[in-house]
Amino acid sequence: MSLRQLFAPAQDMTGKGRLRGGDLAVRVAAALAAFLLPTLLIALAGKDPLAVYQEFVTGLTVSRLGDATMYAAILIICTASAMITFNASLWNIGIEGQLAFATIGATGAMILMRDAPSAILIPAMLVAAMVAGALWASFVALLRLIDVNEIFSGFALNQIAGALVKFMLVGVWWEISQKRMSGIPFPDNASLPTVGGINLWMIALSLIVLVGTVWVIVRTPIGLQVRAVGLSRVSASFYGISANWVFVATLLAGGALAGIAGMLTSSTYFHRFAPDVTSGFGFTAILIYLIARMNLLGVIVLSTLFGLINAGTIGLQTRLGIDPSLAGLVQISIILALYLLQGKDKR
């Protein structure tokens, strides 16, 4: 301690690290307020919050649970993508766009091989989507190499990818979609099959991706190098690790995982290629990562909860005329509440 004081002059002056009384109480109160925010907003929109919550719970039928698990699985994979780049200290906002661009790849593979059996078609789509996702992420990586902040390039590339999806649909593939704005439908052999309404394949795939990602980051020499760069580029350089190399590698890997999510989204969750397929998975995943970090259980619980919230609100629209955007609102309120409950950031 003495040395740190010696090299940090004027510590006498700054009051850093002082514990403030009532800090925890303030945090809990703030978190509670954030948690109650959706209730307030439902009331503000002129609906009865109790009725909404009741309908929400009773509306969770088996088929909706199936939707919820698929939604959760896609979120989990996107969060795994976030884990890779955030551990290298890269704020990869571009997951959303990588996912969107990957749906073009998956759809392209589907169109070329639509009559192939699932055992060939699905892996082909997966590979195409992963390559597309990595390709889109490579733009962020290239720009990062010339010091362009990945947050801004990521956001711009998200918007561009979204427009490209639209362009593919109404331009290049307009005939294939038979001029339907609803999108290009995917045949059944392109979807991962369900068992009793629940898509076990997707659950398994997402858990494998999540556990695998955490394992690589925590338990392999490569992961160790990535974390070293993320914590301190300078320190890592003394052990011969090139930060630029790590940035490129993690962005490509993160893009590939976003690609998996993109393939699942278009082929199995929505069964179609359409402009709205990304549905904010990438953004939500980043928020989940900011809360759960590398905690496996935290990621799974939050993703599942968000899946349930999303599935629960779908029915609200038809029954109570509630806009489905309520789902996102409830999700972000939970994120904010948990964020406020956490203490200082561990970085």
């Binding site: 004027a10 002056m13 700054t14 925010l37 907003l41 503000l44 929109a45 704020w91 720009l143 010339i146 010091d147 362009v148 902040n149 947050i151 801004f152 390039s153 956001f155 711009a156 590339l157 918007q159 561009i160 427009a163 490209l164 639209k166 362009f167 109404v170 331009g171 953004f283 980043i286 928020l287 900011l290 806009d323 955007s325 309520l326 996102g328 609102l329 999700q331 972000i332 309120s333 994120i335 904010l336 964020y339 406020l340 200082k344 950031d345 970085r347």
Partner: protein, 293 residues
């Protein structure tokens, strides 16, 4: 292109650039103290929705503007409380608050989709001015943005508190050594940025693109942040950036350069421009660093 078409285009560019400029000027204040508000996009969106909703419900443009400004101020206060006072991560706080604001805007904005209400009238103050009168003649928001450029530039470069504000962003350690209340200065700057973002939102839905739809202003906060990077926190350069950016990404201009571009892709012109601007700014930054080294 005839002179009349050019005038119309320029008038359109000035109108479109107004909210962008107002938001970017506010963010310039915040970034002068070293705080980046990634929530800007969300702040603009919620303010825009509320400004329109209040205007629609009360038929009062003034109340709409005030409501938008207050929403901006409130969201900025929440951001400042968490990111500056509690010293939480600026980026994480910004993303969370921003996403929350967008969620609220889209949820509460539903009843107002597709509605029409009064819009800001163009004031013919500058009619007498030759050439420029043709397109500088705009609504109150645009006049406000002209005034804001002058005021903020004057404040940051010609007043003691303004210079002190910039010093905090330049070297926060040295500022603490000088006994400056750095946190208070940062909070005030963030509040100013929030107020401006609120006004930018109001300018959007009451003037530039009247009315409300889902994600009506999505992306404009990010464009404003990019323009601040491009303008290197200098209000005058930020102004140049905002106009140049809007001009180059205006649909008409894009069609001149890429006549065969499909209609679906002209909408992304601002984001392609955003990437170009980021690359230019990064090259400037790097060449400056090389000069210093």
């Amino acid at each position: 292109m005839t002179e009349r078409m050019l005038m119309l285009l320029l008038a359109q560019v000035v109108k479109l650039a107004t909210p962008l400029l107002i938001a970017a000027l506010g963010e310039t204040m915040a970034e002068s103290t070293g705080v980046v508000i990634l929530a800007l996009d969300g702040i603009i969106m919620l303010s825009a929705m509320v400004a329109f909703a209040v205007n629609f419900s009360t038929a009062s443009l003034l109340l709409g503007i005030v409501a938008g400004a207050l929403i901006g101020l409130g969201l900025a206060a929440v951001f400042a409380l968490i990111a500056v006072n509690q010293e939480r991560d600026q980026y994480a706080t910004g993303l969370i608050i921003g996403t929350l604001a967008i969620g609220i805007a889209n949820y509460l904005g539903n009843p107002f989709i597709g509605k029409t209400a009064g819009t800001m009238p163009d004031l013919p103050i500058l009619n007498g001015v030759p050439v420029f009168g043709g397109f500088l003649n705009q609504s109150l928001f645009t006049y406000f943005s002209y005034l804001a450029v002058a005021l903020i530039a004057y404040y940051l470069y010609r007043t003691r508190p303004g210079i002190t504000t910039r010093a905090v962003g330049a070297n926060v350690e040295a500022a603490i050594r000088r006994g400056l209340p750095t946190k208070r200065i940062q909070v005030l700057a963030v509040l100013a940025a929030g107020l401006m973002a609120g006004l930018a939102g109001a300018a959007f839905t009451l003037d530039t693109k009247p009315g409300w739809t889902q994600n009506q202003t999505l992306g404009w906060g990010w464009l404003a942040l990019t323009i601040v990077i491009f303008g290197q926190r200098n209000p005058l350069w930020v102004t140049v950036g905002a106009y140049l950016f809007t001009f180059l990404s205006a649909a008409t201009i894009v069609q001149i350069f890429f006549p065969v571009l499909p209609a679906q892709l002209t909408g992304v012109a601002p984001y392609v421009m955003m990437l170009v601007v980021l690359v230019i700014a990064s090259f400037w930054q790097r060449s400056r660093q090389r000069r210093l080294a």
